[in-house]
Amino acid sequence: MPVTPTSPAAPTPAPEPGADHTVGPGLEAVVRLVDGAVAIAGRPVLRGIDLTVSRGDFVALMGANGSGKSTLVRALTGLRPLTTGSLELFGHRLEHFDEWRRVGFVPQRTGAASGVPASVWEVVASGRLTRRRLLRPLGRADRRAVADALEVVGLADRARDGVSQLSGGQQQRVLIARALAGEPELFFLDEPTAGVDLPNQHALAASLARLKERGATVVLVAHELGPLAPLVDRAVVMRDGRVVYDGTPLADHEVHQPWLGEAHSHHHATHRDRARHDHAPHVASPLGTHPEEHHR
């Protein structure tokens, strides 16, 4: 399916690198994070993050591995608690936010297959849980939303197939359809293109273009944009747990320019393992607490 060419974002003047992205008058802030910080097992990972996403934005969180972009998306969904700062979703502070039906989360692909077979339709239908009441069967509106979500990602003909029969890229599209089935207004996608072959990246871009046309707000984590590049209105580049750029989209190669790192002090050399970027040392013990398991 060809990617619908969409015009770039509203012609705002390109802010300076590191400048605050301010919301224009009349635009509702869907996500507002002020001075956010995240610590994993007591070690600061994200520091001093200000991020405001307004309705209809298509934001790409970019940066090298270990720069904290996935942690930021997990903090924005409430999966990772903030140590300081305040987070508002749709104008409500996270502690009081209970309209999870307005949020669609697409985690990294690992969760698509499990120990028991599940059909594509069943996985997508589980996205309706945000709108279903306990012990009620699926209604007509639910079935229509599931069918519509499958159609958007182009997998309507695979609905009855098992998820494990699909390729990695198709599984990623199933996860997008699952989020879509809940008819949310705000989407968070964690590395949707990682490890996905080129044809599926194009199919993914086509699905996201459909979401954008419908006025959805999208925040996605991407190491490289690839076919998604024409959709992105705004790029936020992370480096070592801080935002170093927030403004008009950058080409993939620009993200990794050395000047983007100048916004923070130079202490890279102290990191022994740059590639893995361990946030907390691992201490193995049968009954010990996993440092990664402290969320919510």
Binding site: T77, G78, L79, D98, W100, R101, V103, F105, P107, G111, A112, S114, G115, V116, P117, A118, S119, W121, E122, V123, A125, S126, G127, L129, T130, R132, L134, L135, R160, D161, G162, Q165, S167, L175, R178, A179, G182, F188, D197, L198, P199, H202, A284, S285, P286, L287, G288, T289, H290, E293, R296
Partner: protein, 352 residues
């Protein structure tokens, strides 16, 4: 004694009722355990429940209820360890399991009970089940089935993807605890039928069997319940019908019958999966000109070298019944032929 007379005996009828309820309930929980890759959790809870049984024997209270209480406590503890624990939490679980088994054997000895009394719980004694135990079994099994089937959308979502479930606003911890408690309850319910050491088989083997042939969660769950009931009833009937003089206990018969079902379906599952793999569509190159799924035939446009006519070694027309594997490729079908991919094009075949 004729077969009919045998099945009209009260103890046999109680055993049959218990077998049906246990066969229905155990695979329900087993499905969620297998989905979360915790297939051995039932086994571990069975070990923990041994201590509960021994406590009941020691204090003179009903071993079924003390086993339920201890197994539920053990299940909650396992769930807490699993939630907060490190990746090698299985070591912690092992510690708990062996503690449960050793504690049970020690307590039975302290209480002056003979090993054979404990053995009826370890390996089952469905034919000695009392009326009160049958009622308990029916009630607990019904609760497990109703919760496990009624809450299946929520339990499925939580077991499939915890992070997604959490962002969807589900109370993941509560649902995880519910599955653990349901597992503990079904362990003790099945204890009189197949015994604590074999209970996990009735939870897991029907699920393993049904997922050889199924592609969706719902059919896996329903088929596992059916298989569990068949195995449970069938094992009991087989052990009752053996000629006099031989002694066949129902518990192991039920488990071996369930395993026989798995052995019978496994090759079918292997074959089905292999066939699906062969017939998975070939990928389509999105950058191909004019949306063509493969380079155009050189008869139309001079094309790249990897694309050739191939007429020589095709001695028949490829079609739905030609015997070659047909694989969808974009808007047409490729036929796999001696390691080649033949796509019909006019009156000849193209190499794709």
């Amino acid at each position: 004694m004729s077969t009919l007379e045998l099945f009209s005996l009260p103890f046999m009828q109680r055993a049959l009722i218990a077998a049906v309820f246990v066969g229905l309930a155990a695979p329900v929980v087993g499905t969620y355990l297998v989905q979360r890759r915790l297939a051995l959790m039932g086994d571990g809870l069975g070990h923990v429940a041994v201590t509960g049984v021994a406590l009941g024997l020691l204090t003179g209270t009903s071993p079924t209820w003390t086993a339920v209480v201890v197994a539920v406590l053990g299940a909650v503890l396992i769930e807490v360890i699993r939630e907060r624990g490190h990746t090698n939490g299985d070591v912690a679980l092992a510690l708990l399991f062996y503690g449960g088994l050793a504690g049970g054997v020690l307590l039975t000895g302290l209480g002056g009970q003979s090993a054979s009394r404990l053995q009826t719980f370890l390996f089952g004694s469905i034919t000695t089940i009392s009326v009160a135990d049958v009622v308990t079994t029916m009630v607990l099994a019904a609760v497990v089935v109703i919760l496990g089937v009624g809450l299946s959308p929520q339990l499925f979502a939580v077991a499939q993807d915890q992070e997604f479930a959490r962002v969807a606003g589900l109370n993941v911890r509560a649902y995880n605890l519910l599955v653990a408690v349901m597992a503990a309850v079904s362990v003790t319910v099945a204890m009189r039928t197949v015994g604590l050491l074999l209970v996990s088989a009735l939870m897991v083997v029907p699920v393993a069997t049904s997922q050889q042939l199924t592609r969706s969660f719902r059919t896996t769950l329903v088929a596992a319940m059916a298989l569990g009931t068949v195995a449970s009833l069938g094992g009991l009937v087989i052990s009752a019908l053996v000629p006099a003089g031989t002694s066949v206990s129902p518990g192991p018969t039920i488990v071996l019958l369930a395993l026989a079902g798995f052995v019978a379906t496994w090759p079918v599952g292997v074959w089905l999966r292999h066939r699906e793999q062969l017939r998975a569509p070939f990928p389509v190159d999105p950058d191909a000109p004019d949306g063509a799924v493969a380079p155009l035939c050189p008869e139309v446009v001079p094309g790249p070298a990897d694309h050739r006519h191939d007429e020589e070694h095709v001695d028949h027309d490829h079609g739905p019944d030609c015997g070659h594997v047909a694989v969808p490729h974009g808007d047409h079908v490729d036929y796999v032929h001696d390691g080649h991919r033949h796509a019909p094009h006019g009156r000849h075949y193209d190499e794709h």
